[in-house]
């Protein structure tokens, strides 16, 4: 048995894939989710499997995550202006909406469930009558409406409906598609679970948009082609009604008839909005229909449902070629009346809590409509808008009385173009003065009690921040701190104060801004309990946003905040993996003392002492210390410091509970030690790593498969690392491999599959070692072949055999003995797989091309 001599450089060149310039990033461009089901057809010429090309749900999901992260970063306060495409912008908007109001996992949806589970018509029951029923006959209710489903299930059911709808459409069953979309639109009538509504809205309108697009395409097709498929006409972008043939018109008409027959108001409006662009086939002025729909929406009394209906209206209007600001202005004015009603209905059944939630849920709708109003608006139009919205002196009283209106004002000011602000400075100043006079200086001062004061400030702080009224801000903060110092902060005031401080923080670019705010820290010190912790979380989040943290004062401050957070039992004991602990870990990893590496190591030691109980933090600490060591290595002279870093890691390592993590960190530290030339340290660390591997099975018997894979890859990494480790003269070069082989043979949790992979790794390692050193003859193959035969699954056995064959053939010179092993393995592969299996074919091809091939195939 003899190892094949290898020329690694030449092989790398021969095997490298040709590089091709990619037009787009594979993870960008979120296309339609229907691609999830699309089987990607591999190009027949290619000999390898490209993992990126496989249709893989996980990959898809992670892509969605990426996009969402992107969204959250762009949906910040100023960053979304760059997006121009309306549909893309809408997609971003709905995504951020869903993120802002996530479906909580525990929410149970009673009244919604029936419709979605059985498709029965329960919508006619109002929620009050449902409650009545529930009171009268709880058992019956439990039987009928008792299909309780969680928000998550609800969402997935909606996605199913979407798939059903497109499927029915493509099967030419358009009536079913229509029925399903009516069903979906009806779901929007139920606002009983407030928190879920934005998510429901986002998904339902997505479905309705799909229907609208399909109907549009169908009628367009009818207008352009005859029944037998010959093109008779090509519709220009700005076609008029006279271009449309009678057939297409009649079909279009029938669609509007069908949706017009839906009795309930809300689904009727939603469906007509979805089909709104189709009015262009029937009339030259489709905006008239929109105007009517705007008015019809007034019939929806539910504030939330009507607000979101107007939001969808603003979205659908953008699909029309012409633009009508008047409609949107009516929407905003109607919304204003509706929200004033919500705010003034204090005595009714809606609790204050509920009311606040409704208003916060309505806010994004106002924001979006405002944005639509000012898109491409000329200066004159802007002036008209200001007049139309009635923001002027006569509204003074209203502004003071209804804090909700500040939402409208807030978003209005946010959207006003800067040149308008400058040219109309006087009016704008009036506007702001309105809010200042009424709501801040005068109104606020009247409120002696901290509670009232805070509530008012909470409502107006956004406007103040928006307009950089810094002197004003500081007087507000002073007001708060004065009142808080004298009377202390009561529990219910804490929540409002928390909201104000969080808003303030959201306007700070970095932590320096926060330090520069007068009174802020003083107020923070007065806070306590849960609210304090929440504010702390926001500060920490902001502190780590800018990456490396270098300023010692900031480090000290954030460390104190982290300690406070850590001591808050509510947070730390909640879950192992919650936000504060994640933030603390991130903070620790971002601290950078620059050249003062000793101080940094001291910081790490302090962290270990303080945050010892946080899971996962020690790993961060070891990473940081290893990084520090590498940094010190670059200066060469700090060898003793490198030693202390490694010592720190070595001391910290045994306390890590996860064995796999421990194994990996041992390896990492060993690598660092080897890089620093500390061979004996490195050897010791490898020993520890092998020990931790040994203690693996003692831990628990039922090892999850995913765990096994992690172990496997760690072991493989260990082998590849060993290639670099110089042999110990006392124990010989094969000391570690030997140890490992005996260890792995004794482990009961090793599955045949793992064994095969490990043996392959050993052979590769030894082959690599043999390039310079004496070969180490382990009779691995026999074990290998036995291990393969133990695999119960046929398909798995086949691919394992092929893998082993490839490994042996590329490592060893094909002697008679090896050849027979290889052909045996290929036989096994053939017996387990079909002959046109690509892996099998490529292996056989590989064997054929070996220089000294004598394998009988």
């Amino acid at each position: 048995m003899e190892f094949r001599p290898r020329n690694y450089i030449a092989e790398k060149e021969a095997h490298a894939l040709p590089r091709v310039l990619a037009d787009s990033h594979p993870f960008s461009a979120p296309s339609s989710p229907s691609q999830l089901q699309v089987e990607v057809v591999d190009d027949g010429n290619e000999e390898y499997f490209d993992p990126l090309r496989r249709s893989d749900n996980n990959a898809e999901a992670s892509r969605e995550d990426l996009v969402e992260i992107e969204t959250s970063s762009t949906a910040g306060l100023s960053g979304e202006a760059s997006i121009q495409n309306p549909s893309k912008e809408w997609a971003f908007f709905t995504r951020s909406l869903m993120q802002r109001f996530p479906v909580s996992k525990s929410v149970l949806t009673y009244s919604m469930s029936d419709m979605i589970v059985k498709g029965r018509k329960t919508h006619e029951k109002s929620s009050t009558s449902m409650h009545l029923e529930e009171l009268e006959d709880p058992e019956k209710f439990a039987e009928e409406g008792g299909k309780v489903i969680t928000g998550q299930e609800y969402v997935s059911r909606l996605h199913e409906l979407k798939a059903e709808l497109t499927h029915a459409w493509h099967a030419n069953d358009r009536v079913t598609s229509l029925k399903l979309s009516i069903k979906v639109a009806r779901l929007l009538m139920d606002t009983s679970v407030l928190q879920c509504y934005p998510t429901l809205f986002a998904i339902a309108t997505d479905i309705l948009d799909i229907l609208g697009d399909m109907v549009w395409e169908r009628i367009k097709l009818k207008a352009e082609f005859t029944e037998d498929g010959t093109r008779i006409f090509s519709l220009p972008e700005n076609f008029s009604v006279s271009d449309i043939c009678f057939d297409a018109k009649e079909t279009c008409n029938n669609w509007f008839c069908k949706i017009g027959a839906v009795r309930e108001l809300l689904p009727r409006i939603y469906l007509e909005l979805a089909l709104l662009p189709c009015w262009r086939f029937l009339v030259d002025q489709p905006l008239n229909s929109l105007r009517r729909l705007v008015m019809m929406t007034r019939g929806l009394a539910d504030p939330l449902a009507s607000a979101y209906c107007r939001l969808y209206m603003a979205h659908c209007m953008r699909k029309l070629p012409s633009h009508d600001t008047g409609c949107l202005l009516t929407c905003v004015n109607d919304l204003k009346i509706v929200s004033m009603r919500v705010m003034s209905a204090q005595e009714t059944s809606h609790g204050a809590e509920n009311r606040r939630l409704v208003v916060s849920l309505m806010e994004p709708t106002i924001e979006y409509i405002m944005k639509c109003i000012f898109r491409n608006a000329s200066e004159k139009q802007v002036g008209d808008v200001l007049v139309e919205l009635g923001v002027g002196l006569n509204q003074k009283e209203l502004l003071g009385r209804f804090p909700c209106l500040s939402i409208v004002l807030h978003h209005l000011l946010k959207q006003l173009p800067s040149e308008v602000v400058s040219s109309r400075a006087v009016e704008i100043l009036h506007l702001i003065e309105c809010s200042r006079d009424d709501s801040l200086d005068q109104v606020i001062i009247e409120y002696d009690g901290l509670d009232d004061y805070l509530k008012v400030v909470d409502a107006f702080v956004d406007i103040v921040l928006q307009n950089h009224m810094d002197d004003h801000l500081s007087s507000i903060l002073e007001g708060i701190s004065k009142r808080a110092c004298t009377k202390g902060i009561a529990d219910d005031e804490l929540a409002t104060l928390q909201s104000i401080l969080v808003k303030l923080l959201s306007y700070c670019k970095d932590i320096e801004d926060m330090f520069s705010m007068n009174h802020f820290l003083k107020i923070l010190d007065l806070m306590y309990g849960n609210s304090r912790s929440i504010v702390n979380i926001h500060i920490l989040d902001m502190g780590i946003r800018k990456g490396c943290i270098r300023d010692p004062r900031t480090i000290q401050f954030l460390l104190e905040i982290s300690q406070a957070l850590h001591h808050d039992e509510n947070f730390v004991n909640l879950k192992d993996d919650n936000q504060p602990t994640r933030l603390i870990s991130q903070f620790v990893s971002l601290v950078d003392y620059g050249a003062e590496i000793e101080s940094q190591l001291a910081f790490l030691v302090e962290c270990r002492g303080t945050f010892g109980s946080i899971r996962g933090l020690k790993e961060t600490l070891i990473h940081s210390s290893n990084c520090l060591a590498i940094k010190a290595l670059k200066d060469a002279k700090h060898l003793s410091f490198v030693k202390s870093c490694i010592a720190f890691s070595e001391v910290t390592l045994p306390s890590i509970s996860s064995q796999i993590m421990q194994l990996n960190l041992y390896l990492e530290t060993a690598e660092v030690a080897l890089l620093g030339g500390l061979v004996s340290h490195s050897d010791g660390l490898i020993d520890s790593a092998i020990n931790s591997l040994q203690s693996l099975d003692v831990m628990d018997g039922s090892r999850l498969p995913i765990d096994a894979d992690a172990v496997l890859s760690s072991v493989q990494k260990l082998f590849s690392f060993l290639v670099m480790v110089p042999g110990n003269p006392e124990d010989g070069v094969t000391y570690f491999p030997k140890n490992l082989v005996s260890l792995l043979n004794s482990q009961s949790w090793m599955t045949p599959r793992m064994r095969v992979k490990v043996f392959c790794a050993i052979i590769s390692l030894l082959a690599a070692l043999s390039q310079r050193n004496l070969p180490y003859h382990a009779d691995g193959e026999k074990n290998l072949v036995d291990a393969i035969q133990q695999e119960p699954s046929k398909a798995a056995r086949g691919s394992m055999a092929l893998e082993a064959c490839n490994c042996i053939a590329s490592s060893l010179i094909l002697s008679q003995e090896i050849s027979s092993i290889c052909s045996n393995l290929i036989e096994t592969g053939k017996s387990c797989m079909s002959t046109n299996n690509r892996y099998l074919q490529s292996t056989i091809k590989f064997m054929d091309h070996l220089p000294d091939s004598s394998v009988a195939l």
């Binding site: 229509l178 009649e250 008839c257 017009g260 027959a261 009795r263 108001l265 009517r292 007034r298 009394a301």
Partner: protein, 364 residues
Amino acid sequence: MSIELKLSRINRVYRPTELIEGKIVVKSSSSISHYGIRLAVNGSVNMQVRGGSAGVIESLVGVAKPISIVNKIIEVRPSGKIASGTSEIPFSINIKQPGEKNLEKFYETFHGGNINIQYLLTVDISRGYLHKSLSTTMEFIVESDKADLLEQPVSPEMVLFYLTQDTQRHPLLPELKSGGFRVIGKMSTQCSLSDPIVGELTVEASAVPISSIDLHLLRVESILLGERIVTEQSLVQTTQACIHILLAYIADGDVCRNMTMPIYVILPRLLTCPTVLAGPFSIEFKVAVVVTFQSNIAKMPSKSDPTTPRLWLAMETLPLELVRTRFYEQSNTFTARTELLVAGLMLRPLSSVAFHRPPHVQPI
């Protein structure tokens, strides 16, 4: 062996003076010899009295004789043979010859509760006494002739209405009676079948929160029973069936006060026809605006007539004349008034109407 009728128009809508064209499709494994292929057109008004509103003379129930509008037979093919396989035999038939005097007017197709106006096309292939003849029947839909259409445009006249606690003739909840309410609006009195009912509505005040405001279409079908109508007025027995159709909600929930909402409701095509005032029968329409107030005692009565006076309901009924305008004639120009639409299929079938519903095709 199967036989099928196919009409040239997919929606099967024809006017009386128009030629009905189509083909007879016969599928057979062997050739068929026959004694002639005949096509019959039959149109009639069927009246039937049901329910308890028939009045004093219960024995009169069901005696109204059907009125025949048209009944004619043409021979499409003389006796001969039809080859095996699929054969298509084209035909064309006039329902009404130009200049021909017909006894009855060609009323539009209508399927109501008591009155059924139906036009049928029947093909019959007689194969002698030894074999059963092959036949099939299909309904087609008749709409008014061009000549009969209203020449002048639909009257833009609107009727004003208002609902307060004092306009209601039935008892109301005490809190409604004392607190008061006022809902005003206006609505068209004449409406083209192809147009929506339009109008507007405003809730000016209401002490009790409103649960919903809906629009109902009332269809009044009257049938004259008895022989000597003209001479003996006293013997005239009319039976009326009032069928309500919930058209649409105008408002859902306690809407804001003093906000004007549009009334815009599309008429259901199958359940309506132009208002008919014929001698022996009449079909008329009314629209009811129903305001439902929130009340603890208001249980949703699922089956019963929602226009029945109840403590928590307020309503106003307005007459509505339905007319056929020249909608289909001008295929390429939709005027502002006929901006819209015909009717929908998605309405739930009427509760107990047993008449055969035509297989109406509206491609979407």
